[in-house]
């Protein structure tokens, strides 16, 4: 999928990572400034705690710096790699500190704040992030909650069924239906990109 607009300015993310793999400090500075707000923002959206989020964001970007040589572009985008590292570290931090994560409804609400009004315009500009935001906030609330719990907080269907007080089959069904709808948005964008 396409990167955020900031990735379209200056060197590509892949070029910066290649430079970081060779120990290029300048590339690291540009990369950190490009990603620090997204990394901190994801951790903060999950914890609502600035101190925990700074610890997580620092550790995530430090790992990117150290592991830049092993990044494999065939397995996914740089954005996906960086944010997955951040997500996993945040989940670990929440478990270690036995902290209460933000409510999944709040995560979706935060995503909706910067939502654009015209999804078609997002498609034309190849802005996947806004398109997914749009798709996410228009999911039925129970599907939205299940998808966020699974995709962001790493909760299994069984855990979701227990915390939400719903049958396991219902939890699986909500996850499946929600993700299939998001896929339609993401793949629709890919189709537009491939036509260009």
């Amino acid at each position: 999928m396409g990167e955020s607009p900031v990735a379209e300015v200056g060197p590509t993310d892949e070029a910066l990572l290649a430079g970081m793999a060779l120990g290029d400090h300048g590339a690291a500075v540009v990369f950190v400034r490009r990603y620090q707000r997204r990394v901190f923002g994801l951790a903060f959206s999950m914890t609502n705690d600035a101190m925990v989020s700074e610890d997580v964001a620092q550790e995530a970007l430090l790992r990117v710096w150290r592991h830049a040589p092993v990044f494999d572009a065939r397995k996914g985008s740089v954005t996906s790699w960086v944010l997955t590292i951040t997500r996993n570290l945040t989940i670990d931090a929440l478990r270690m500190r036995r902290a209460v994560p933000t409510d999944p409804d709040d995560f979706a609400a935060a995503a909706a704040i910067s939502l654009e009004h015209d999804p078609e315009d997002s498609v034309r500009r190849g802005d996947a992030r806004h398109l997914v935001q749009s798709a996410l906030v228009t999911l039925p609330p129970e599907q939205q909650r299940a998808v966020v719990l699974a995709a962001v907080y790493g909760r299994t269907a069984l855990e979701i069924s227990e915390t939400e007080g719903i049958p396991l089959g219902t939890a699986k069904s909500r996850i499946r239906s929600g993700l299939l709808r998001l896929r339609a948005a993401v793949e629709g964008l890919r189709g537009v990109e491939e036509e260009r």
Binding site: M1, H25, A57, G76
Partner: protein, 228 residues
Amino acid sequence: MNTGPRARRCADVGEVVPELALGILTGRARSDALAHVEQCTRCTEELEQLSRAADAVVQVAPEVEPPLGFEVRLFGRMGVSGPATRRLHPRRVLAVLAAAAAVVALGVGLGVGLSGGPGPTTSAPAPHHPGPLVSVADLSEHGEHVGQVFTYGGPTPWVFMTLSDSAARGRVTCEVVTTGGAVRTVGTFVARSGYGAWGAPLPVAPQDVRVAEVVASDGSVVARARLG
């Protein structure tokens, strides 16, 4: 229509592919599903598409400006020779404002501030589209930079404040001093371990605000910003 064993297996695995894509399928169910996917082009494509959708969910989190000093601390740990300090570049001002506006709007929906503490004590709704920025000033504490103050104009004047690595602890009060010398209390908020972000309607015109102060519960001024 193909209803052979392989097609039936695809249908069975298709039921759990979303969980596989999300990385939440575990144990035997996961290994069985993966064993089939590795030999099935159709299910491989299905998994790839759903994985892209699953990855996209974390990407919708809003951007939030890290606390001041974040870069310096990070570059120190990385051993990278970044700048020792950073001045607020115009683009960074816009980023801070975007984050501030997001948090202000979020505070209404969620009832929280950036620090996780209570939101504004006032009950007036926050503007989802703040008016024009009137002023930006650094909050200082014994000469040290510990945050920023932003004032907005428009129909609903607004003040937004960030604190980072300050001495503020617990409930503090935001006061503004006007050009005429009047002191007005804007509201109270909670600073956690020196960090916090908060916004509230301004009781005076933003052009009339000369000083903004963060005041501790004992009345001492923790941090001050000169806007005029």
